[in-house]
Symmetry: C2
Subunit: 324 residues, 2 copies
């Protein structure tokens, strides 16, 4: 499961900051969100299990489920988050649902309280598992923090997944799972067969880093930094495009999504952009079924403030190649 002292520290942090309902013995330390999903899928689902996924969603989460033999049920996402009614219509008795309610990937919506209650009620009613992927909720820029879905659930039906990849750095490879108490043994068995246990040194260092308050300070500091980068990016987009292109998901996280006209191919734009060393991610790849939107996922976490306006200017030229 990981070092007990680290898990104690982390449990305290999650209770305070994310309103996660957890004891240290429910925390399993893993190598990141991806392993967290992998272990969870293998415990909760069987080959053939139907699982709701957000449409669009994080591509690598789909890979895990497909690898575990699940049958994916894409459920549309709108500005209020996952459309539960559409999910119930698509496949009512699904075995589970994977959601990112704090900041949906890639559209960026924050799931409303009403939708959260609806999702939890559905899961309780049909006996489904919810996997809550809370990959970047530390970075919320305006609204008050929304408590985790796990903390709102009273039926121990939510598996909560978090990572240090966004707040610290991805090559650290440290993430965690908050496991419902009656599933701990099954998670341990599957994980033990997979890679035994997590590396020790990082856990010791992180425990000290959090305990001493450095982590909270680091998150506060980087939040201001990322907020500034987001503001510059939004301003630059509005300046270049005169508000002609819709921007989605600016209230949290380290990316936003820029809708492009349906006649454009986001894949082609991304390829043209890559030739100019502009790294964009096409929105259409996030769809399991046929893409409903064309758009560009723009990460700003790693973009120096001074480079952003020029990058958006170059992007504008890419979107309208006829003007070149």
């Amino acid at each position: 499961m990981g070092s007990l002292s680290f898990r104690k520290t982390l449990a305290g942090y999650l209770r305070t900051v994310r309103a996660v309902n957890c004891e240290p013995e429910q925390l399993m330390i893993v190598s990141g969100s991806q392993q967290a999903l992998e272990v969870s899928a293998r415990v909760l689902f069987d080959p053939g299990s139907r699982v709701w996924i957000e449409e669009p969603s994080y591509r690598l989460a789909r890979h895990v489920l497909l690898g575990a033999g699940c049958r994916l049920v894409p459920v549309p996402v709108d500005q209020e988050g996952l459309n539960i009614s559409a999910g119930i219509k698509a496949f009512h008795r699904a075995r589970g649902a994977i959601v990112s309610p704090s900041h949906q990937f890639p559209l960026g919506s924050i799931m409303t309280i009403a939708r959260r209650h609806q999702l939890l009620e559905w899961a309780d009613h049909v006996g489904s598992w919810i996997i809550e992927d809370d990959y970047d909720s530390e970075y919320r820029y305006r609204a008050m923090p929304v408590p985790s879905l796990q903390g709102m659930d009273s039926h121990a039906g939510v598996v909560y997944i978090g990572t240090f990849s966004k707040t610290l750095f991805p090559s650290l490879r440290v993430g965690y799972i908050v496991i419902p108490k009656d599933l701990i043994d099954r998670f341990v068995a599957i994980r033990h067969a997979m890679d035994l246990f997590p590396s020790q040194l990082y856990q010791d260092v992180l425990a000290e880093f959090i305990e001493a308050g450095h982590y909270a300070r680091h998150v506060r500091r980087t939040k201001l930094l990322y907020q500034e980068r987001r503001d510059i990016l939004v301003d630059s987009i509005n300046k270049e495009f005169g508000g002609g292109l819709e921007i989605l998901g600016t209230e949290a996280g380290l990316h936003l999504t820029l809708k492009v006209p349906q006649q454009e191919s986001d894949h082609e734009i991304a390829l043209r952009a890559a030739k100019q060393r502009l790294w964009l991610y096409p929105l259409s790849s996030s769809y399991f079924g046929s893409p409903q939107l064309q758009g560009l996922i723009l990460g700003f976490g790693n973009a120096p403030e001074k480079d952003i306006p020029g990058a958006v200017e170059r992007l504008k030229r890419l979107l309208s190649p006829s003007r070149l």
Copy 2:
């Protein structure tokens, strides 16, 4: 796959020290032998695949295969290693075989050159994959090093697995897979869905540690240390039991196996021993089928020299409780 500079260093080391036939691009860094087995099993086998396992064998390797839905074919091990003829008789067209030829776990035999050729010929003939688990071959005490099976193979049918858990420490969680060139893409796809990539910092440190010669010096130094511990353990056993109990697998590694009379239960001895803070591992747990031998697996890597004679003396009393 891991850091390229680490993989270059490691490939050079494996070519020189283990006669492994590998280029850096064939090396995938993983979190240890267990993840190496997990990734390999998922790439090479399907649910229902028949796979030869050593009987007795490493219990956690069996867990990986069972988790991947494989059907295990136990193949007996003798003093020359895996009995290939018995395997062919049991299930000729198996999809693969997992072996520990450098130092069989738990019986400690070193696979003879004749058996190695026989195994490679069988695998080539039926198109099977061999997974070579080379978990502790750095510690060989008498005989000349035997080259790896992978290095003897001319048909790219061997997946070679190694780890730093024995030579450095298990909580480091660093191991590696040498992948046949035409399977690299499949290994990458499976591993990427599992946990993306390995942590960076340890790789950088290890690359420097190996390049500067510290690792080779460390292995030489610890080999002398473990050899001394093994000698004291063997002497103490012979002194206490007057040669009455057979000792298996003393030529390599960090454990030996002590056969106990068939009327004794190695599980019960291990339980009685644990109450006296003597940690033994019962041999019978290593069998997939019904145990052919009762015995005790004694690890000596972590036993201070001065404690060994007293521990063996206590063990003797446990083996003969009527005399207490």
